[in-house]
């Protein structure tokens, strides 16, 4: 997992719950805690941090991931304004996500695995977002979408049509923008 994910998570946690909260999470989850955006760290560390947060907040991991994704978006905008500046809608931004993620992952590790989002539309014009990854972080993706909607001041209904957590081969979300 890219170090930036841990950095943003830290930022989100500290902003919402204070600096000590992050330290508590590190202590509670037993992760190394030293992350640089240039590094890559075991996926397990993220899962451990999320699990610890869920326990501390007395909620489930999906909830934590969605909260994290949604909170991360404005922070990412601060760090990487160039990724946002050319988009006028969240739809446009979401469709460019492969172009954002792939270079970010592969610029450091040419062969690194990175999620590929597949886009399509259904007959009702909903954007279908297909996702398949052993990390099964569809809830984080959901959170990112929520965050993007916030940024562009839009609303949409997100439905998980298929989900690996429910035993499906892939995750597929339908995004239905409200007019």
């Amino acid at each position: 997992m890219k170090g930036i994910v841990f950095n943003i998570l830290q930022e989100a946690v500290e902003q919402k719950f204070g600096e000590d909260a992050w330290e508590s999470l590190i202590d509670a989850s037993g992760v190394c805690g030293a992350y640089t955006s240039l590094g890559s760290y075991p996926d397990q560390e993220l899962f451990a941090l999320v699990a610890a947060a869920a326990a501390l907040l007395e909620t489930n991991e999906a909830e934590v991931l969605r909260w994290f994704g949604r909170s991360a978006m404005p922070m990412l905008e601060v760090r990487y304004p160039e990724l946002f500046v050319n988009h006028r809608t969240s739809r446009s931004f979401i469709l460019s996500v492969n172009d954002i993620i792939h270079p970010e992952v592969r610029k450091l590790y040419a062969g690194a695995s990175c999620p590929h989002f597949h886009f399509d539309e259904d007959t009702e014009g909903r954007l279908l977002l297909g996702y398949r990854s052993p990390r099964q972080l569809c809830q984080l993706a959901h959170g990112f979408i929520d965050g993007a909607l916030d940024l562009f001041d839009e609303r949409a209904t997100i439905e998980h049509l298929l989900c690996m957590h429910r035993g499906d081969g892939i995750c597929r979300m339908a995004i239905d923008w409200h007019p």
Binding site: L95, P103, L108
Partner: protein
């Protein structure tokens, strides 16, 4: 507590200092923590800044590497073997795949850069998904300024459509939007900054043409442009291989292909005719006025022939069949006529061509018109193309033999002529070997006193073992066309010199009479000719002044420079020279002035027409011309005394013709002295 207070009380001073110390320690700890926090914050900021710098650099590097890789792939695709379409398709595919685009469409530039037209060449990773859009796009056309391709055409730069729902391009964009293709961009494919094609792409995501992407597209445009450049070169080579460079007309190769195709296309009855158009006297123009003038003449002739065919096409009610004007040789054009409508009008077309070629307008000064001999032949049954061309050639030669500026349609009797000429050639070879030729001599008399014979013209005759005496007109053309004229001409020259020796040896009047010998162009212009003349004079021991060599205007116009050299050389030895058949060919003052002749021989056609005032005028003009150039004039073909008297009155110096004596055997002729 009490003790403590006491301790406090007992040692108030000490207590105060402990308290101060405690306060200090406490405040020290606070500031220390604050300082550490500040340091941590600085460190964190430094880390984030360092990361940002490193990430930006790495991302830039990654993107530029990706783009280089794409450029490389496109270059490989562009240079892949296979045709233009294959290379373009490969390039579209690479770009779509690499940049994750939904589809790419290629347009070529048409109407001289005024429009971009799709050429049914596209790539899409999901064609069925955007079927309607591709269906609409693959044959779309955009005028300059319209749509993405039109905007690219207008300024030669890449353009993007950031949101197809907002675009005002009409159907295409609306359809793109419905197909879920949110944005698009197009960029020019260039050869040296000239836009030769446009690539257009659509995608679901938004594409922003930032400067690095623009630079990449420009480079891709140049690389893909090489495909077009290669194709252009190939087309040029193909065109050059099949077209005549001077006139741009199809050449012999292309023509034969067309005839072949026409012959195959025709069912049982191939409706194909060809017209061989041979320009008369082109060599003369080349020699007198230079090759540039000759080329100009050919180009003009080509344009006129084309215009005739086009004009004819326009006048046709039923425009079935086809025609094709080609240049197959130096001064030879072939016009292919295919289909009933065309072949029926070959004759009429030929007449139009003669008239069009004869026009003087637009020709270089000194050229009054273009004359051509036209031969027409029709493709027979099974379609032997070589035979077809040969037949048309035979007809064309027949037209030339009739004096040019005329048309002859091939018929079977000509095939006999052709066959006859073949046999004739064999017989001529045998005749040279067997010495079946002999010379006759026709007297040339003084105009002032026709009883005075000043010389004789040596005329060759062929004593054919079966056919008897054959006239030169019946075998000289054949001898010329097969090259035997060199042998025959040399024999004539040698025989004539021997005759001069005998004539002069007789003494008396024969001592200073001359013999005039016709020299063929080939013979005259051969490298050894003047040396041969010198050798014969020495060997036969004759007075060079008694040898007179006659050449036709044809010699002069074949190679004016060489003619001049030979004339000067032989005249330096004292040999006299005559220009034969004057008035029939290119009677150009310029070469007459440049070439050293002693005598002009007025063609017998003017003498035959002496009743006509105009012919008299021509004779008078020729005589005046000869006077001014200090040449003597001989009139040929004088048939009666009246003609002779008239010619004498017009100023001719000498006369020749049946009236003064037929060509006779040597002994008889010389005995007349």
């Amino acid at each position: 507590m009490h003790a403590s207070r006491r301790w406090h009380l007992q040692d108030g001073h000490r207590l105060a200092s402990v308290s101060a110390l405690h306060d200090r320690i406490e405040s020290d700890t606070d500031s220390r923590v604050q300082r550490l926090e500040r340091r941590l914050e600085r460190e964190r900021k430094a880390r984030i800044d360092a990361e940002a710098v490193a990430e930006a650099g790495l991302r830039e590097l990654y993107i530029s590497q990706r783009r280089l890789k794409l450029l490389h792939k496109v270059t490989v695709a562009a240079n892949s073997p296979g045709g233009l379409r294959q290379s373009l398709h490969a390039a579209l595919e690479e770009i779509c795949t690499d940049l994750d685009l939904a589809c790419g469409i290629a347009y070529t530039v048409t109407d001289g850069g005024e429009a971009a037209r799709a050429i049914d060449l596209w790539f899409s990773a999901e064609p069925s998904r955007i079927f309607d859009f591709i269906e609409l796009s693959r044959e779309a056309e955009f005028a300059i300024g319209e749509g993405l391709p039109g905007r690219v055409l207008a300024d030669g730069k890449a353009h993007s459509l950031e949101d197809t729902s907002q675009a005002a391009d009409g159907e295409g964009s609306a359809l793109a939007f419905t197909a879920g293709l949110g944005s698009g961009f197009a960029f020019p494919i260039t050869i040296a900054r000239e836009t030769v094609a446009v690539f257009e792409f659509f995608c679901r995501k938004m594409i922003h043409l930032d400067p690095p992407l623009r630079a990449l597209l420009e480079q891709i445009g140049v690389q893909v442009g090489r495909v077009f450049e290669r194709e252009r070169s190939r087309q040029v080579l193909l065109h050059e291989a099949r077209h005549d460079a001077l006139t741009g007309l199809p050449n012999r190769i292309a023509l034969l292909e067309r005839i072949r195709a026409a012959a195959i296309a025709g069912n049982d009855d191939a409706l194909v005719k060809i017209m061989v158009v041979d320009l008369d006297g082109l060599k003369g123009v080349n020699d007198l006025m230079g090759h540039h003038a000759g080329d100009q003449l050919i180009k003009t002739a080509a344009r006129r022939l084309e215009a005739c065919v086009l004009g004819h096409q326009r006048s046709m009610l039923n425009a079935g069949g086809s025609s094709c004007v080609s240049r197959v040789g130096g001064d030879e054009f072939i016009i292919l006529l295919e289909g009933r409508e065309w072949i029926d009008q070959a004759r009429g077309l030929a007449e139009k061509m003669h008239r069009a070629l004869a026009e003087s307008e637009g020709l270089l000064p000194g050229i009054s018109g273009i004359a051509a001999s036209i031969g027409i032949a029709r493709l027979e049954g099974t379609g032997d193309l070589d035979q077809l061309v040969r037949n048309a050639d035979v007809a064309m030669y027949a037209a030339k033999e009739r004096g040019g500026s005329t048309t002859v349609e091939f018929d079977e009797s000509m095939r006999d002529t052709f066959r006859f000429r073949d046999e004739l050639e064999k017989e001529l070879r045998e005749a040279i070997r067997a010495r079946q030729f002999l010379l006759n001599f026709q007297p040339i008399v003084e105009a002032a006193d026709p009883n005075v014979i000043v010389g004789f013209e040596a005329l060759v005759r062929w004593q054919h073992p079966q056919r008897g005496l054959v006239h030169p007109a019946d075998f000289i053309p054949a001898a010329e066309s097969c090259g035997l004229i060199l042998y025959l001409g040399d024999w004539v020259l040698e025989e004539a010199c021997a005759a001069i020796a005998r004539l002069n040896a007789c003494g008396g009047r024969g001592a200073d009479r001359y013999v005039s010998v016709n020299v063929a162009a080939h013979q005259f212009l051969s490298a050894s000719f003047s040396a041969r003349v010198g050798e014969l004079i020495m060997r036969k021991g004759i007075d060079p002044a008694n040898l007179r060599l006659e050449v036709t205007e044809g010699v002069a116009i074949t190679d004016a420079k060489r003619t001049r050299e030979v004339l000067e050389q032989i005249r330096a030895w004292g040999v006299k020279t005559s220009l034969d058949d004057f008035g029939t060919g290119y009677s150009s003052l310029s070469y007459l002035q440049q070439l050293p002749f002693d005598t002009l021989k007025i063609d017998k056609s003017f003498v035959a027409d002496l009743d006509d005032k105009r012919s008299q005028q021509i004779v008078r003009t020729i005589v005046e011309l000869a006077r001014s150039l200090d040449l003597s004039v001989v009139a040929e073909g004088v048939e009666d005394a009246m003609q002779g008297e008239l010619l004498a009155a017009l100023g001719c110096d000498y006369l020749q013709g049946y009236h003064y004596g037929r060509p006779l055997a040597e002994s008889e002729a010389f005995a007349r002295l």
